[in-house]
């Protein structure tokens, strides 16, 4: 049995959870602001979602004279169906290019047409040619960043899973509790601030594009610490992903715009999507933008065809690419060409034959509610990247996650550093307070070790599969009040009846995957319950949220849903959209103390 003395204690100024670009950018910013920083990676350093991305990056480079940061801002808010947190969106539009240049200074080689001219392209939903990219995609972005961390000697602690924040009596975060899975050791990181950059929760779904470790841990941990979630009912599904083989099912193929001339010209067509009757079914849903429409529209259109029996036997539809884009596709995206070749065949890889595609859970649009400096309502707790909500609203433009995680990763690091410095002047924790924090950590440890002790019960992978099926069937692309209600009841029962009975095959402490999954399951269930509760409240259809019982957009619902956890109950509240005119977010107490950082 783990005693309080078995918990190793470490001290840092800022502890960051998450090894993707948001976490790494936060680490660089906090370090460069003078803080002693540690970064917790749940797996090896390269096991993150950024690395899996195509790396397309929306930013206003100044090379398309028709484009502007205003236009990028408007495209993002239009795509988000007006419920974005507008100041966050403004920050994204304003700072995306500066952060792309940071990456260039780290060594990333953006694709070029000339020595000083980027190659620009389109993504679905955008109205101007503005997207940059690099041939090494998300791999290159994560590589150049990781080596910047190494240059700064920032410890990247592999196999360290954040399991909970440690809070002082006043609620402020004063530490992080992590499980070092490589040794089976619990670690208490005493620190001035915690930054959550753990990404999204695509693993809630049966078919998903992200890495297996994206179980939304940080979102759930922030929720339990007292932070609010915003827009958590919105889950982005990538419209097109691999249908087979099993190992690749759900991995993103990006958007039909990439496989047609629309990639270069907003007036040209994206690749066509057809059902098993040969019909271009997207025309029913968006006759104007057609297959160049936003991701929410396309994903739902495809899913409805599949559900209504007009899909392929394997459960997809067909995308007919335009072979004229092959040469540039091969040049820009050689990794995709290779995967299509291996998984489907040469004709498909040459864009000469239809490619089978299906929607897949990709990106958690909602998340922890933050202000423009990534502060939550919990002092000392900062959130950046996919784990945060509000930047993209009800739908995200292709190519906008990459700038988001850079822009807000950096801001979270700067704000946390500023907070730690001001806090250190105001309050040094007493020995008593440290002891209290450690006792709280130990109580949590004992609860989290229950699956190692239980001799009878349910294996974590079995419960995970049940949750993923329920989410895919009822809380995915097509939702209804009836199904949401029954799913919530099922989740409540799982939380009460099954979670306490989780057991692992072996009590081995080192790299015990079942134990890790048991810890993840509490996070998945917390977020699943929050998603269902928020989805029930939003009685309309908007962006990625489609209710068959409320199939139309309701202008009265141009508002956000906030979720807070009180005890085991999820409290939902409707909240006015934060516009650029409204100064501080409503219903959120101003986080203390105010860093000396300009807003937006």
């Amino acid at each position: 049995m783990t005693t309080i003395h078995d918990i190793a204690t470490h001290a840092f100024d800022v502890v960051i959870a998450g090894s993707g670009a948001a976490g790494m950018r936060a680490a660089i910013a906090a370090h460069d602001a003078g803080c002693k920083v540690a970064l917790l990676a749940k797996g090896p350093p390269r096991a993150n979602h950024t690395r899996m991305s195509g790396g397309r990056y929306n930013a206003v480079s100044g090379q398309n004279p028709a484009d502007s940061t205003d236009a990028f801002y408007r495209d993002t808010v239009d795509s988000g169906c007006q419920i974005n947190n507008h100041p966050l969106t403004r920050v994204l539009a304003n700072e995306a290019m500066d952060r792309a240049w940071d990456l260039e200074s780290y060594g990333l080689a953006w694709d070029r047409e000339g020595d000083r001219k980027y190659m620009l392209s389109m993504t679905g939903g955008g109205s101007f040619v503005r997207t940059i990219g690099s041939v090494d995609e998300g791999i290159g972005i994560t590589e150049v960043m990781l080596h910047q961390l190494y240059k700064r000697r920032i410890p990247v602690l592999a196999f360290h899973m954040l399991v909970e924040t440690i809070q002082a009596d006043d609620g402020s975060v004063v530490g992080a509790l992590a499980l070092d899975m490589a040794t089976g050791t619990w670690r208490h990181f005493a620190c001035g601030a915690v930054i959550i950059a753990t990404g999204g929760t695509s693993q809630l779904y049966e078919t998903s594009s992200g890495p297996a470790i994206n179980t939304g841990d940080g979102i759930a941990i922030a929720l339990r610490a007292g932070a609010e979630l915003v827009d958590i009912e919105f889950m982005q599904f990538i419209p097109i992903s691999f249908v087979y083989p099993p190992s690749a099912r759900g991995y993103t193929l990006t958007e039909p715009a990439h496989y047609g001339m629309r990639h270069f010209d907003p007036k040209a067509e994206a690749a066509h999507l057809i059902n098993n009757k040969g019909e271009r079914f997207v025309l029913k849903h968006d006759p104007v933008r057609k297959e160049g429409s936003t991701r929410d529209v396309l994903a739902r259109a495809i899913m409805l065809e599949i559900l209504e029996g007009r899909g392929t036997p394997e459960g997809g539809v067909l995308m007919v690419p335009d072979p004229r884009v092959f040469d540039s596709f091969l040049k820009e995206r050689p990794i995709y060409v290779k995967r299509i070749l291996e998984n489907y065949g040469e004709a498909q890889a040459r864009l000469q034959a239809p490619i089978q595609v299906m929607p897949s859970a990709l990106y958690t649009l909602g998340g922890v509610r933050i202000d423009p400096w990534c502060r939550t309502r919990v002092p000392g707790l900062f959130v950046g990247g996919e784990a945060a909500g509000g930047v993209h609203g009800a739908n995200r433009l292709g190519g906008s996650s990459m700038p988001d995680i850079q822009v807000f990763g950096r801001r979270s690091g700067m704000a946390a550093a500023e907070y730690v410095k001001s806090r250190a002047r105001a309050l040094a924790p007493t020995a008593g307070a440290r002891g209290g924090a450690l006792a709280a950590a130990h109580a949590r440890v004992m609860a989290l070790e229950a699956p190692l002790r239980n001799t009878d019960g349910v294996r974590p992978p079995d419960l995970k599969r049940q949750i993923q099926k329920l989410m895919w069937d009822h809380v995915g692309l097509v939702r209804s009040g009836e199904k949401l209600t029954s799913t919530l009841a099922a989740f409540d029962e799982m939380r009460e009846q099954v979670l306490p009975r989780l057991k692992v095959t072996s009590p081995v402490r080192i790299l015990n995957r079942e134990w890790m999954e048991a810890i993840e399951l509490e996070n998945l269930l917390d977020i699943g319950r929050a998603m269902v509760t928020a989805s029930l409240m939003r009685k309309e259809t908007r962006g990625a949220h489609y209710r068959t019982d409320f199939p139309d957009l309701d202008p009265n619902w141009t508002a956000n849903v906030l979720v807070r956890k009180e005890g085991q109950a999820m409290r939902v509240e409707r909240s006015a959209v934060v516009t650029e005119a409204s100064s501080t977010p409503t219903s959120t107490p101003a986080p203390a103390p105010e860093p000396a950082l300009e807003n937006a």
């Binding site: 350093p45 060594g107 791999i139 890495p211 087979y244 083989p245 099993p246 991995y251 015990n512 079942e514």
Partner: protein, 233 residues
């Protein structure tokens, strides 16, 4: 699309340092589609037969490079490698094992840290885009798509026998050497890392899951050394 099923036998190396006296091989039969990958087999074993199996994967699409294992003695990415009827699956050598199929990458990352794979910091008033010919951007982009999966290091006979860090590290040094903003002579690090120890067998290039050629990078670094100064082309 295949609908044929196959049954494969997977002998998986099991070892918990500190707990087991010696490694052992557990044998499992797995049935699945004949286009399934080695990772599908490993995940099936975990899901249905050995819940205590330690293995690593994240992306399952050949990008994170963390699922590399040896199958019948050959290092491969488990997520990309098609199954054969009989497979002996082992952790990647010559690295220390944390448990079962998972290696400890601490020394690998420390080596990358020592090599400082970063360009010179641009001047504060540098104008972006930094000047870079499109063909150079494309070339260094390709070189930087190395997965750091360590398959080439595992396959390299010179690493086995001689003081050689391995092809992956040489490729990274060549990548920096080609980078217009490099700012550091990379040859001393390459020489210290064993640039001259490579046999030129090309095993690294044959097995690279990112279709890169570490062997070519080694040849280019050597050519630069012979011709003097930085390696130019």
């Amino acid at each position: 699309m295949t609908d044929k099923n196959i049954t494969v036998t997977a002998e998986i190396r099991r070892f918990s340092p500190g707990q087991d006296d010696a490694p052992r091989y557990d044998s499992f039969e797995v049935n699945g589609l004949d286009n399934m990958r080695v990772l599908d087999v490993i995940r099936s074993v975990y899901a249905n037969q050995a819940g205590d199996l330690a293995f690593q994967f994240a992306c399952r699409i050949g990008r994170c490079g963390t699922c590399a294992v040896k199958v019948n003695g050959v290092p491969v990415l488990a997520c990309q490698e098609r199954c054969v009827p009989h497979m002996r699956i082992e952790p990647l050598t010559p690295f220390p094992v944390i448990r079962d199929l998972v290696i400890d990458r601490t020394e690998i990352e420390a080596r990358y840290t020592d090599l400082a794979i970063v360009p010179a910091e641009p001047a504060a008033d540098a104008e972006y885009p930094l000047p870079m010919p499109p063909a150079v951007a494309e070339k260094i982009g390709h070189l930087d798509s190395c997965l750091a999966c360590m398959i080439c290091v595992s396959a390299c006979p010179a690493v086995d026998e001689r003081p050689f860090d391995g092809p992956a590290f040489m490729l990274k040094l060549r990548y920096m050497d080609q980078h217009p903003n490099n700012g550091t002579d990379r040859l001393p690090d390459a020489l210290e890392g064993g640039l001259l120890e490579c046999f030129g067998c090309d095993a690294c290039t044959q097995l690279c899951p990112a279709d890169l050629s570490p062997a070519q990078s080694i040849r280019e670094l050597r050519r630069g050394m012979v011709l003097g100064g930085r390696s130019g082309t």
